[in-house]
Amino acid sequence: MTVVTDVVCPLCGSVCDDIEVEVEENKITKVIKGACAVGKSKLQGHERIKSPMIRVNGVLKECSYDEAIKKAAELLAKARRPLLYGWSSTVCEADKVGIALAEEIGGVVDNTASVCHGPSVLAIQDVGIPCCTLGQIKNRADLVIYWGSNPANAHMNHMKRYSYISKGYFLPGGKKDKKLAVVDVRETSTSKMAELFAQIEPGKDFLLFSAVRAVLMGYEDIVPDEVGGIPKEKIVTLANMIKESRFFITFFGMGVTQSRCRQNNIVNAIQTTRAGHLHTKGAIMPMRGHYNVNGFNQVCTWETGYPFAVDFSRGFAWYNPGETASTDLLGRGECDVALIIASDPASHFPADAVKHLARIPVIIIDPYHNPTTEFADIVIPSAICGIEAEGSVYRMDNVPIRVRKVVNTDYMSDEEIVERILEEVRAIKEKEGE
């Protein structure tokens, strides 16, 4: 038995990196400390796809990696409008190869941001974002606001490691020195801990941001008696908490990005942070879900100029979410082959997009079975990044961390699989060119 320290959890955007595990016979047998319940369960592993498979006469049949990769490459090489989607629960090294593959075949490459924090990206492109790393929050933020996000369930270590419950240099007393405010449509385990909880009516976030912003900018008199179900008094209290803080942070989740007004909510949230900045120091941060959803956006940006929804059909990178995002493409029934990696669109895409996906050839690369594998035509199992394969990931605050390889595996890594597909595609194209 060996103990491995400083293991990095490959699950949520918190990317906890102080985990200790016991390894016995090339298996993580115990998580000693550091991980939350869901992190633990991922680290200890569950049911895997056993072998590469190709669908023959409607049934998935086991095959070799070589066969699956070759077949995948053939499909992609002759595709007219291929989509390469997912990329958020794998490492940047795999993302890079994926972007090169998309470029090679003139495809569209897109990640899960399309259906989670895509609106946040659009808002940032509109107004920018005052942000910071999570340690800055731990050390300085005496007011923590979670808006439309419930870390106690979705990012379980977040408060303990980085925000309300953590102790910091200027806040040695931890939560004794800090205040917590929560805005959400329902009571949550997080809201129960908050000094101020505003239970907002669904879809009214935009209005509430506007009201808080008005108070911060000195227009308290124009705020009505009630906004989105929140009495004016409470709105003024929240604004005053911001004004009186030395450093405030707003973490926002999909409750804000995926509800009515979408990116406009985030623009307003960011402008509210700037309004707070007139009085004190403030920052705002999206609670990114998958551990490397941000990493794909980073890599895609430095390699193509744009963070997601990049269309290479013109030879150069073309970006126009609303036209070039995966759901747009599928919704229009345009796409003729899809490569899905490290994600499960069947569970998260709108119905019309899933319907189209089910009609076309689908290649999936993933360690686990999921509803998308149910209708996939080629299934390629991969090593689990952070456990069986190493590489870069970007935490929700843009801090890059290298996830570790803790145990050995016979599974190929995502990076190797996509690289092999790319090589095969190039070989096919070269032959055709002759």
Partner: protein, 564 residues
Amino acid sequence: MVEELRIKNGVVYDPINGVNGERREICIRDGKIVEDVMNPKVIDAEGKVVMPGGVDVHAHIAGGKVNSGRIFRPEDERRGREPKTKVCRSQSGYSVPNTFTTGYRYAKMGYTFVMEPAMPPLLARHTHEEFIDIPILDKAALPLIDNNWMTFDYVKSGDSEKLAAYIAWMIKATKGYGVKLVNPGGTDAWGWAKNQGLNDESEDWGITPAEIIRALAEANEKFEMPHAIHLHQNNLGHPGNFEMTLETYDVTEGVKASKDRSVTHLTHQQFFSYGGTSWKDFESQAKAIAEYVNKNEHVSIDTGTVILGDTTTMTADGPMEYSLYQITGRKWTNCDVELETGAGITPFLYSGKVGVHSIQWTIGLELMLLVKDPWKVALTTDHPNAGPFIGYPIVISTLMSKKRRDEVLSEIHSAVYDKSELPSIDREYDLNEIAIITRAGTAKILGLQEHGKGHLGVGADGDVAIYDISPEERDAGKIQRAFMNTKYTIKGGQIVVKDGEVVAAPEGRTFLVEPIFEDEEIYKEMLSDLETKFRDYYSVTMRNYPVQDAYTPHPYVIKAPMAK
């Protein structure tokens, strides 16, 4: 197979070796300059200008804030897009180009080395990941060590040995090249939305920026570091800041350099050479700055010359970017980095219609024309802050042609005639001086001449730029075009650009410095202080912090032993 190359008949400018416009042959074997070759491929450079590959001393080309700039400016990415070719990846961007484009465009201008001057240590991996994706160029990065709480502790306690031990650790951990300072003290104060002047005492730490600068300069000189401390001082971009600039220069006077170079390299001094008391009576004080540089040996500068037009500003100077954003009301991104530094980004338009911008444009040129010794001043645009690096050929032609300067002066805001010396300066740079401010001098400032950069002597890297221009050419337009697209660029003996087209895109190397701190006891004590910082205040563990070797697939390591 041995790769050999002979460049014949060219007119060579190699200032480090005292070659000033002579017809010489350049021979390359296995990537290095040699005396002679047996079976070479021959390039006939008849009538053309031959220089060492360009060396950029300061350009923000990779890392967290560059990428944040890209992310929030899709409108910039749409400028300059080009489809993938057999050799090149697809291209996007103007002031914040994608990584591949950065490599191609520099190579087309004849550059082969670029220094990324602001790497937040906690985000160092990001900078190196982007480096891997910048083809052709050799690169290095300077970690920001000045707003660091470890540095503050040791400045406060006066523990210069531990400070030296710490910078050694930090430069190694980040795979960096030297010591970078950006608004020392001020960027940390921005954690509370405050800022600091040179002699203001910090409320939290009880030290002044001047003390930080001096201490880091002394710590840097404890090693035989190739480069001086690289300083973006306090108070950037404010009217009247030239006085604090001169005071800042004085701070490191008397510190003894461990190598033949300046003690402090002061970067993009255009932004620090401002007179007046407000934007209304804003004026150039470039003359005062240049006079100081002329008289003193402990400083070198680069200019941060303005390119008129739209760009993206970005710096670790968080408070400065915030005030800029307040002026323009355009989009603004900020990123404070725990215990270490920060960053701000906002787009900016330098308009010839605006008096202040026009004067700023003159200042960057005045600095280069008024500093007499070209070895002390380097051409930069602080890419992309004062303008994108692809504006260099414009600056070169403007320095070489008084006529072009007069044309521009007559077109921009007339304030330049009262508030700047530029209209009265007649000096024109010659090609030898251009070679100094773009490669020979910059290589020396960075200590790279010992490592094969900035010259064409035997043993140097086979990095050569051949410009399709006669040495006698005075026409600014022709000069600009020639410096924009080389006839040939050769990198490590390989032709990478031919007739202005990228024909090969090999991977570049990463240059890293390894300072060797000798006293093990002191080093251990420093490490135990550092462990406390990680345990209590950082959001990552100390073992996950250092940049792994995987991020520098082609390292070139420079050892920096303790100075004698």
